[in-house]
Every structure is written in C-alpha cells, then in structure tokens.
Symmetry: C2
Subunit: 368 residues, 2 copies
DNA sequence: GGATCATGCAGAAACCTTCCTTCCGGCCGC
DNA sequence: GCGGCCGGAAGGAAGGTTTCTGCATGATCC
C-alpha cells in the first residue's frame, strides 16, 4: 500500500488549517473564480486594475493554489524523476557516488531554473511508489538492458532521457553520454607518451555501455599498438572486489607499468596495492583513474583522473527532457556526446613533482 | 510561471495515450466505480472473488490510478521535500557535500521503505516551485535563522523535521542533531592525550548551530584547560577562504601544534599548509577534521576524521517526519541527539604508522 | 442607426479518485 | 411472518483548479 493510500493512522499531525481556495479569493475580491485564475496566471483578457486587485486579495488571504488540483487539471506536475540503476538496497551505487552527486546537483539546478523539481526514484523502488507520483518525465542514469520501469514509463508516454547510452533497444527519447572511446584512447596515448610500455586496465564485469565501450576501446588500442592486453575485471558495485582486483593486477607476472582504472575507487586501491608491492608511483607505475573526486588531488602522489564532467551531463539531460516535455526542440530522438577532461597530476608523469592541469577542451568558465 | 502552469508550448511530445481510468475498469469488470476502488485498495466489504476479478481486469487494461486525483482526494501526495540551505546558486553547499550526499542517500532509502519519495528542493528555489508541489512534509538540513520557506510551511501546517538544531525560534516538529559539544570535547581530549600542547581550531563565520556549538565547546575547553584559544574563522561556503584560513592559522606566531577543522576540506587544506611550512604530520602537527570523505584514509598521512554519521541522521529524520505525517508517534516535538564517531588515523597519533579505528560508541551494525 | 467587434467577466464542465451514505436482498430469531 | 441485521454493492458528493463557451456592454465603422 502506498503512503497516500494509507489511512489507518490516527490523529494526523499534518492537519492543514483551512487553506483559502480560489473560491474564497473570488468571493473576497468580488469577482468570479475564472477571473481569479486568469488574473493569477496571466491569462485571459483582464485590465491591469483587476489583475492587481485580485493578486492583492490573494496575497492578503495567503492563497496558494493546490498543486494537486492543478496537476489533475493540467496533466502537468512539474516533477521530474531522477532514477539510477541500483545494485542492492541502496538508492545509488558506491562506485558512481561522486559522479552521481555532482550530476544530480547540476540536474537539480537546471530543472529548478525551468520551474521543475526533481524526485529521487531509484529503479529498485517499490512499484507502488513509482505509480503513486505524477511525473512529467524521467531522467535515468545508466539504464540497464531492459529496465522494466523505464519500459513501462515509455509505454505510458512519459518522456525519458538517459544519462549514458541506453543498452539494448530501450526506447528513450534522448540520451547524453561521454565519448568514452576517445577518452580511453586519450588516456592510453597519454600514458604511452609518459613512457608506459605495458598498460593495464581495471574494468568491470557488468554489461553497461560505459564498461563495454571503454573496454573495447582498450582492446582495440592494444591490438593496434601491438600490446598484449593486461586487465582484471570485477563486479564494479562491490567495493571490496575492487581492492582485490587491483592487487591481482599488480601481482601478475606480466605486471603492467601503467594502469587505468575505470571506476572511482580504483585510484586509492591501486595506490595501496602499489605500496604493498613496493612500487613507486609514478616512477615504477603510472596511474590514472576515472573519478570526480577532488580527493585525488591530495593523495600521495596526486592521481591523474578522467572527469566525465557530470555537471555538464546533468544539465544537458534535464534540458533535453524538459524540451521533450514541453514539446519544444526536435521531435526526433537526440543523441548528445560530450567530451571528457583529463586532469593530469603527478601519478601519470614520468618526470614527477610537476603538477599541471590540462587545458580544458572548452572554455573553463563554470565548467566545474 | 511554474512548469505546470506553462502551456504556451506547442505539440507536446508527452501526450499520454488515453490511459484507462477507474471508470473504464468498472465498465469492463461490470461493477461500479466504488467497487473497483474498494477492491484495489483493499477496503470495503467485498468477497474475494469480486476483488480478484476487478484486479485482473485492471491489470489487463493497464490501469494505473492517477496520482494527482488521489492526492487531491486524500490530501496525501507521498512526497517529502528535502531542503538544504544554500549559498549562491548551487542546490547544496560545497562544504557539506559528502555529508549531504550520504544523508540524502539514507533519507531516500528510508522514505522509500515507507512508501514515500523525496523531492529535492533547495531553500533558494524559486518560490513558485515550492508552491507548485504538494508536499506531505519536509526535511530541512541546517535551517538558517528565520528561513522564510520553513516558516511558511509550518504556518501552512506542513510537518517539518530538521537535520540540525533549528536556530532561533523556528517551530519545526522535530529535529535530529549530533552531540557537537561532546564530539569537540572528545577530539580535544584525544589530541591532548596524543601530546598536543596548543590546539587550534579552524571554524566558520556563519551563525549556524553546528559552528556555534562547536566553537563554544572549544572555547570552554580552552578556558577549563587553561589554554589560550587559537583559531581562525572564515566563511565556510567559500572553498578558497578555507585554504587561506588554514594557511593563516599555521602562520601565526603562536602556531598550534594540533588543529581541528570543522569543515570537510580543512583536512587537505591544512595538510597543504603544513607542507608549505615544512611541518611534518603528525610529528610537528596533529590534525583532525570533520568529514565524511573516505579520501582521508588515503592522504599522506591519512587524516583522522570525525564522522557525523549522516546515514543515521538521514534515516532518523525521515522516520520522525513520516511519523508526524501519519500521526503516529509522540505529538510533542522530538529532539534526538545522536553520537558521532571519531575515526582515528595517523594524523592525530604521536606514534605514527599505526592506523586504527576507534570502537564506535554504539554497536556498529548497519551504522555505515 | 444598426451591424460588427473587442473587451471584461461569469458559468460550468472536466480532471479522477475516494469515501460517506444509501440501498437492496437474504437470513435469523422470535 | 416480520423486524432487524448484515453482506454486498452502488450512488454521488466532494476535492480545487483550468479553460471552453458564452453573455453582456460599450465602442467603432460604414
């Protein structure tokens, strides 16, 4: 049973005192309900005097239109769902933590600026919760292959825009994603330029597109360069497995002299593993990982990270979604590929102790 | 103009195909609307056969009750606002980032488990967005002195529970907070026990209760111990100011040999400042800061942190709020004080290279 | 001067559900 | 046999807004 349907509770505290309705305003202002509605919503043909008068009376009465009634009538709630695929009970995953937080922050901001609010709805939510909230559209982060919730939403005609290419044939209205191939190739080239002879990869076992595209790009690069691939894959949603995989990678007989880790915690895990094996970073081992965490600027040594620029993605996703909801913008599905940014720190430079930041590919202003 | 009120847009994409209403189900099942409603909601007096039949027909038709209509009728939306006081444009502040993310995660989870969803609504949101979403209640993080939004909500009879003691006379229904005094005293004792002779404080200029209580506790401790207070205060929402303040603190003639920083970035800032002045941590300078960031386990050296246990707080706040919404639990305001946890790492131990974790003050189960 | 038109406003339907009230038989006890 | 009770189901009133339609009124134009 959903919250709204639950009425067995006694003596509700939230009893709203009799709120003024549009009726009361109309009566107090000596006009009709229609006139009040028009005056307040800037519609209809009304002289400014009437408009002002109505507004004033409404203010005096502390009138607030009922969101429920408005939603019922207009079919618009001003609410956007924010979904992230979950593993286990937690609303969002550990590996994507910083990414998700940043992305959600930008999305909230962008939505708010256009008059919408975000509702956090993990894909694992009880079905009745999904059904019980009126959504104008949904942002879905990293949709899994045939997500039942997303499928259902699309079937109902609710616009869905995804962060990350939808796997399979998930019929989203639009998606935004990074250029993962280019990002990986850029990193591998960067490491090779820093003197790496054998570059390893720490990757995931799941089939999401991020993992898949990145891994493929790595394998192709190896193929092209003529390097034997050296990688370990682990279930990315399990934090412990990451540490183990990092260790395994550095314990191999064909130990790499540079590693790229696809997930946020890989940096610290690899660093810890390197210490255990007495490997100096960056002298014996070059390190890069994909992360939004600012903490990697303060590790010893600071670790080079790939930023997916979640702020930009979050903003873009929301804009696309609201465009779809409001019917502006292209009617056809949009696919937007956004650049990443490599933040070069000590861990990936053979000449250590010189910390620089690469020039962003777009003007840095507000980029976060 | 709010989103729901905005109708000048053309050719809406989100056109829902004619969804089946309760009327259609009733017709298809050959019963009345009432019967359908009762059957689906488990109310009324109906034989199981009828119930099953109705349910089946509803399923076949893909019937989903309209959330808006239900909300209008019942006065319950199943939506809980999640507010955080903001500085500037961003929905949540930099200093509280990890804390907020963790807290929001737990809150989302707890709300979901009871059939509610969370709506992210920064205090700085445009007023019309606030007005346009039907909230059953609101969680407010670190309410500022006389927050107009909170005041308005309370006036409307919407239950409000705050994370952090409400400043001034904000009439929230309940609050949850850490025992900040005890936490600070514990840290100061810990530092003193590690050999600190003069403990400094990095604090904020704002008047929120966290800053105020912590600073007061520090000053009282100094008074009691007979140490001259050594502290720098800065506007906590400005990340650069933090670095500057950290530097200033270590540049003082009466340089402290131990520092506690009240805010998340203080750890790295202090570490950087210490390096600039050639101070070894923990040999020349003991360091503790308040943070939820796991990154401090991987700095060089790892930094002792005070965790406010945001997961616990987020869960507690939501439980309290939903209790208030549903009218269960005590009618009187509840004040819940929760313990913190000091995670002791190298930076605060005179005998370095031994990393341990303090036993939590409450059984660790599920604590996060 | 009458037809046309813009303007200002009101009435009422529609949105979809919940739930209070009522109704109708059948059955039991006296 | 009849009154009362009970199970089963339906009727219909909210709930508060938006918006379509339509009615006056007064101005404008030929």
């Amino acid at each position: 049973m959903t919250a709204a349907g639950n009425h067995q509770a006694s003596r509700p505290v939230g009893r709203r005192l009799e709120r003024a309705g549009i009726r009361d305003v109309a009566a107090a202002a000596g006009v009709s309900i229609t006139t009040v509605s028009d005056a307040l919503n800037g519609k209809g043909r009304l002289p400014d005097a009437t408009r002002r008068h109505v507004r004033e009376v409404a203010d005096r009465l502390g009138y607030r239109p009922s969101a429920a009634a408005r939603t019922l009538r207009t079919g618009r709630s001003g609410l956007i769902g924010l979904t992230v695929t979950t593993y286990g009970e937690e609303p969002f995953t550990f590996t994507e933590f910083a990414y998700f937080a940043e992305m959600a922050r930008a999305a909230t901001s962008a939505a708010l600026a256009r008059g919408y609010a975000l509702v956090i709805l993990p894909a694992s939510s009880r079905h009745d919760v999904w059904g019980n909230v009126a959504l104008d559209g949904t942002v879905v982060v990293d949709p899994s292959d045939h997500d039942p919730v997303v499928t259902e939403l699309v079937r109902q005609g609710v616009p869905v825009v995804s962060d990350g290419r939808p796997a399979g044939s998930l019929p989203v209205h639009a998606w935004v994603d990074n250029d993962h191939e280019e990002a990986v190739l850029g990193i591998l080239d960067h490491l090779a330029a820093a003197g790496a002879r054998r570059i390893g990869l720490l990757t995931g076992t799941s089939t999401d597109t991020y993992t898949r595209l990145s891994t493929t790009a790595y394998l192709e690069w190896c193929e092209r360069i003529g390097q034997e691939p050296v990688y370990e894959a682990y279930p990315a949603h399990d934090p412990c497995a990451g540490a183990v995989a990092a260790d395994r990678l550095l314990a191999r007989p064909d130990r790499p002299d540079a590693v790229y880790g696809l997930f946020d915690p890989n940096g610290t895990d690899l660093l810890a593993a390197a210490r255990r094996y007495g490997l100096r970073v960056p002298d014996d081992l070059l390190l890069v990982c994909c992360s939004e965490s600012t903490g990697y600027a303060a590790t010893e040594p600071p670790i080079t990270t790939l930023s997916l620029k979640p702020r930009r993605i979050g903003t873009a996703v929301v804009q696309l979604l609201i465009d779809a909801i409001e019917g502006v913008g292209p009617a056809h599905p949009v696919q937007q590929v956004m650049p990443t940014e490599l933040i070069i720190r000590t861990s990936s430079q053979r000449r250590p102790h010189r910390t620089t930041v690469s020039a962003p590919r777009t003007p840095a202003r507000g980029g976060g």
